[in-house]
């Protein structure tokens, strides 16, 4: 290790530079993503749109400018924002879970939030509730599932982490069974396909109104996790060391789980199940900047946003029909997983 003196220097450069580089890449990818689609929009049109936005009194001059405004402002930009926010939210809450549970193979669904949210949404679809109610039910279902896992863990004494994981397993199983029941009861001609397709994940229903409503939730949730980043570092040493270093372990973990749950449940209520992002992206982030959460969380967030934005571009552009996002993230994520494991065997770094 003494011989390899270049390595720490390179690592330091990476950990300093990576977030800025990722932010730049994300900006470039975002501008590019806005140009492509069924209705191509040139950079000049985009610029004119921004100018029109800055000068609301004048408004779009031509018919074509108005059309650009609709495509960009009502369709493409909200969807882009949703992709970035959902990717970032899943990645940061995944990173937080991995630290909290001292286990790099954990994903944000550990305590049942994804199963609960799916079940809630399916139930609302079964009841033919309006779309906003479906979103609300998804969110509530996710929160309920995690609350159940926490409650079950509290029933007995012993290793907190183990009990929480067990609570999560039970909660996930319960809500998965309920989801099956809902699917069984659903009308197979229109309700069942709707539920199934929605569970595959996708951003086609990320409309302007929804995204604008969810944005503050995502931003606040991620900011909260970032504020807790040093506590996450301590928790990742295990409960005993964390407490002996001065952390009120139970309280800190409760708030961190609450924030992560809000983030994950919100992703499901907008985009359905988007798997693998919360598991893979934190690893990639750790490869770039190391495990310290103050650097990892922003990096994982940017990387996750960039990743989901690009995957969503593939989803909407690659074929004539849109491919569900959850299928793509799994197909892209799985080949990456052996790489992660190979690195992980040396050290979770």
């Amino acid at each position: 290790m003494i011989a390899d003196r270049g390595k720490p220097a390179r690592a330091a450069f990476l950990s300093q530079g990576a977030p800025w580089l990722l932010a730049l890449l994300l900006a470039v990818a975002a501008v590019w993503s806005l140009t492509v689609g069924n209705y191509p929009i040139s950079l000049a049109d985009q610029w004119r749109y921004v100018l029109d936005l800055c000068d609301p009194a004048a408004g779009p001059a031509t018919r074509q400018a108005r059309l650009v405004g609709v495509v960009l402002g009502d369709v493409r930009a909200p969807r882009l924002l949703a992709a970035v926010l959902i990717g970032a939210a899943l990645s940061t809450s995944g990173a937080a879970y991995q630290s909290m549970f001292v286990n790099p193979l954990v994903s944000p669904g550990l305590l049942g939030v994804l199963a609960g949210a799916s079940c809630g949404a399916a139930l609302a679809m079964l009841a033919e509730l309006p779309w906003t109610a479906v979103q609300g039910c998804a969110f509530a279902g996710g929160v309920a599932a995690v609350a159940l896992a926490l409650g079950l863990a509290r029933l007995s004494r012993g290793d907190r982490l183990l009990l929480l994981v067990l609570g999560g397993v039970i909660s996930t199983a319960l809500f998965t069974a309920l989801l099956s029941a809902v699917k069984y009861l659903a009308d197979p001609t229109n309700q069942l396909p709707a539920i199934t397709y929605w569970l595959m994940g996708g951003l086609s229903r990320a409309d302007k109104e929804t995204v604008l409503k969810a944005t503050p939730l995502f931003v606040l949730g991620m900011a909260g996790l970032f504020l807790f980043s040093r506590q996450l570092d301590l928790l990742s040493l295990g409960d005993e060391q964390a407490r002996s270093l001065g952390l009120s372990v139970g309280r800190a973990r409760f708030w961190l789980i609450a924030l992560s749950t809000v983030l994950s449940a919100a992703t499901v209520s907008i985009a359905g199940l988007v798997g693998w992002v919360g598991l893979i992206i934190p690893h990639a982030g750790r490869l770039l900047v190391g495990p310290s959460n103050r650097r990892l969380l922003p990096t994982a967030g940017l990387l996750g946003g960039l990743y989901l934005l690009l995957v969503d571009d593939v989803s909407r552009l690659a074929f004539g029909v849109e491919i569900p996002l959850g299928i793509l993230t799994a197909l892209v994520g799985i080949p990456f997983f052996p790489l992660v494991l190979r690195n992980a065997r040396r050290s979770w770094g």
Binding site: S99, R230, Q241, G246, S292, S347
Partner: protein
Amino acid sequence: MHVFAAENLAFSYNGTPVLSGVSFTVRPGELVCLLGPNGCGKTTLLRLLLGLLAPTAGRATVGGREAHATPPRDMAAAVAYVPQSHQGAFAYSVLDVVLMGRAAKSFFFGPPSAEDVDVALRALRRFSIEHLARLPVTQLSGGQRQLTLLARALAQGARALVLDEPVTGLDFGHQARFLEILRELCAEGYTCVMTTHFPDHALWVADRILMLRQGRIVADGPPEDVVTAETLGRLYGVDISVFPIARALRVCVPDRIRRLCRSARSTRPPG
């Protein structure tokens, strides 16, 4: 004023008693070694002193305050914990690990202050490992990792250290160096309570030895009084001889090993 005190301390796990009737006090500047066979309750006793467990009966106090009832932040200001050497799940850099000792000092939110970094680097320099600051802890040797954890304990600012088998898994040189450092810290007024599996380690550096067997203290006193062939034999269940090899230094050798060496020597072919 005692740094640590146990008063009739008892702990049972699911109804099975692990510790019972444990009483002792530790004065400032003392280096106390806990000796005892596997499963005698050494680690449980340390956890009680750290406030990680609530006693079933009796009291464990640190600086007069009941350990388990004291808020973690106040405990961290009084006692630092040096766990047994292990890699940990994540590859934090050495500096990151030492800075975690400062997390409770500042309000948790926000980055480590310049002062925190300064204190952390000074702690690393004290053990001559500041050149490792940027390396991930997973790349360190066991000895370096243990010094890193000790640096974290110093950066934490506590004057009392609880160490769980701190030299287990270290090579012989690092064991000696680590124990020597503990001795130096005690000379500066730090108080150390450590467990060890090697009575020799206790004979090298301890001011006082507590022997723990089946959850009870069976001996408590300075090494010269407490460590005898008889007490060690009873503690570990094998016959052990204690030989003086210099003024104020003795070594322990199990009788079986001694016989083995003697017979091997006598049967060795000549030339």
